[in-house]
């Protein structure tokens, strides 16, 4: 299970990578493995305001649909358009090419509610 250092993780298996005020967001290796083949992703709109832990996107696999929650509050500044025709990028590269969107975060202190790589690894061990 790949859990890169330097990212923030949620209990719902989203990740966020902070670059200044911008957070790139996606789902973790664990999430994409348990979902199976990703066949469809619905992304938020650019400019949309998201709330931490609030609904941000939908991801569908052959068998099921799941909601994706925002790790930080903020305004959507970029969406990964590639995913509309190539959702399999989430399976192939969950932390890079398969990112979902980027937001301009409104409160960096929200990271206190998130886990680092070591804590997330421990959290996953507790799930199995």
């Amino acid at each position: 299970m790949e859990i890169p250092e330097g990212l923030f993780y949620t209990k719902d298996h989203e990740w966020a990578r902070l670059e200044g005020k911008t957070a790139y967001v996606g789902i973790t290796d664990y999430a994409k493995t348990s979902l199976g083949d990703i066949t469809f992703v619905e992304l938020p709109k650019i400019g949309e305001a998201l709330k931490q832990s609030g609904f941000s996107a939908t991801v569908e696999s052959v068998k099921a649909a799941s909601d994706v929650y925002a790790p930080f509050s903020g305004k959507v500044t970029q969406v990964n358009q590639e995913l509309s025709s190539h959702p399999e990028l989430v399976n192939q590269s969950p932390y890079e090419k398969g990112y979902f969107f980027a937001i301009e975060i409104s409160d960096e202190a929200e990271k206190a509610a998130l886990m680092d790589a070591a804590a997330y690894r421990k959290y996953l061990e507790g799930l199995s």
Binding site: G36, F40, E60, V62, K63, E88
Partner: protein
């Protein structure tokens, strides 16, 4: 074999685990849903050959005298005068015309038939048979003595010839026969649930593992789970019992009257004739989405704002790269009509189409 949760296991359970299959309950059994992934297994079946563990399905063996048996009344197809070596797909109906089960009837010998039925309906099927079979018949549930492997895909004939010998190459579509393997009698039919050239093999339970291993030693063959079995059958528009057809729906509503022989007598015929005269209240339709978003079982089907039906099966279609669905609607919708599939936060524009959703090869 049974698990702590009360789910039954096939003889290949350990093999599935060692292949790192995702397992899930289906019809009272713990079955492999996927190995490598549903999309890869779907594509491999369409392009090469896959083997599916289908040991959960039921096999009932009937011995009866064709001259006096009431067996023919229990099945919507003519199964008593069909030639030995043929299979027919049909239904058992209740008096109201509702579907008790869909099944394939094999005529193995002059006085011997095999009924291949769904795992979850074995008991209700047996009940229907015992209620209506006349004396002098012998019915045996062979489900726990027989393993079943489906070998499906455009190169399945070559794979089967290598194992069973040249004579299997002559087996025609919807034909069945006896073939000997390692001194054991197997029944093989050229049938399947994928829309590809393929075979269904019934083998003594204790030899199932050896056949599975032998098949997988052939580099063209990969294991496939119930996940891809579902996307493969849905692309063909084949119904799944308990989902697309059930005791509340008739073969007419499901558009499956070509598997009903009105020239003979059968249980439920009166109800079907009445329904045919009045026109069915609901009809099963085939819907294809403009997007990759998948309709799901239970979503509503709408004509504008008016709800007209419910999705019974829905999925992403790997071959079409689009969402596809089947569902019952009230109203006479034709291919090309535009409808909507909606759920709480989802709206999927769809158009009515004809089955199969996908077609390619000769079976």
């Amino acid at each position: 074999m049974q698990t702590a949760s009360g789910l039954k296991k096939t003889p290949l359970y350990e093999s599935h685990l060692s292949l790192q299959a995702k397992m899930a309950p289906f019809g009272g059994w713990l079955m492999p849903i996927q190995y490598e992934g549903i999309l890869a297994e779907h594509a491999h079946t369409r392009q090469e050959v896959s083997v599916f563990d289908i040991c959960h399905m039921g096999e009932l063996i009937l011995e009866a005298d064709p001259a006096t048996s009431s067996f023919d009344r229990i099945i919507t197809q003519d199964v008593v005068s069909m030639p030995v070596g043929l299979c027919r797909y049909g239904f058992m109906l209740n008096e109201q015309g509702g579907i008790i089960d869909d099944l394939i009837v094999y005529r193995l010998y002059d006085k011997n038939w095999m009924l291949v039925v769904n795992a979850a309906t074995i008991a209700s099927d047996e009940g229907q048979l015992y209620r209506h079979l006349s004396g002098g018949c012998r019915l045996k549930n062979a489900s726990s003595a027989l393993g079943k492997l489906d070998v499906q895909g455009p190169r399945s004939r070559d794979v089967m010839v290598k194992i069973f010998g040249d004579s299997i190459a002559r087996l025609g579509y919807y034909n069945c026969g006896e073939f000997f393997l390692w001194g054991e009698r197997c029944i093989v039919s050229r049938t399947g649930y994928t829309g590809e050239l393929g075979y269904e093999v019934y083998i003594p339970l204790e030899k199932t593992q050896r056949l599975w291993d032998t098949l997988l030693k052939d580099r063209r063959v990969k294991p496939a789970g119930l996940g891809s079995r579902d996307t493969l059958r849905l692309e063909m528009g084949y119904p799944l019992y308990g989902q697309d057809i059930d005791a509340q729906h008739t073969p007419l509503a499901a558009g499956l009257e070509r598997f009903v022989d009105f020239s003979k007598d059968f249980i439920g015929k009166g109800a079907l004739i009445k329904e045919r005269e009045a026109g069915p209240k609901e009809r099963l339709v085939y819907l294809v989405s403009d997007s990759r978003r998948a309709p799901r079982h239970g979503f509503g089907i709408f004509d504008g704002d008016r709800r007209v039906g419910t999705v019974t099966s829905g999925s992403f279609s790997p071959s079409l790269s689009a969402g596809i669905a089947m569902g019952y609607v009230a109203g006479n919708y034709q291919a090309g009509n535009r409808l909507f599939i909606r759920d709480a936060a989802v709206e999927i524009p769809v158009r009515v189409t004809k089955k199969p959703f996908y077609s390619k090869t000769a079976l």
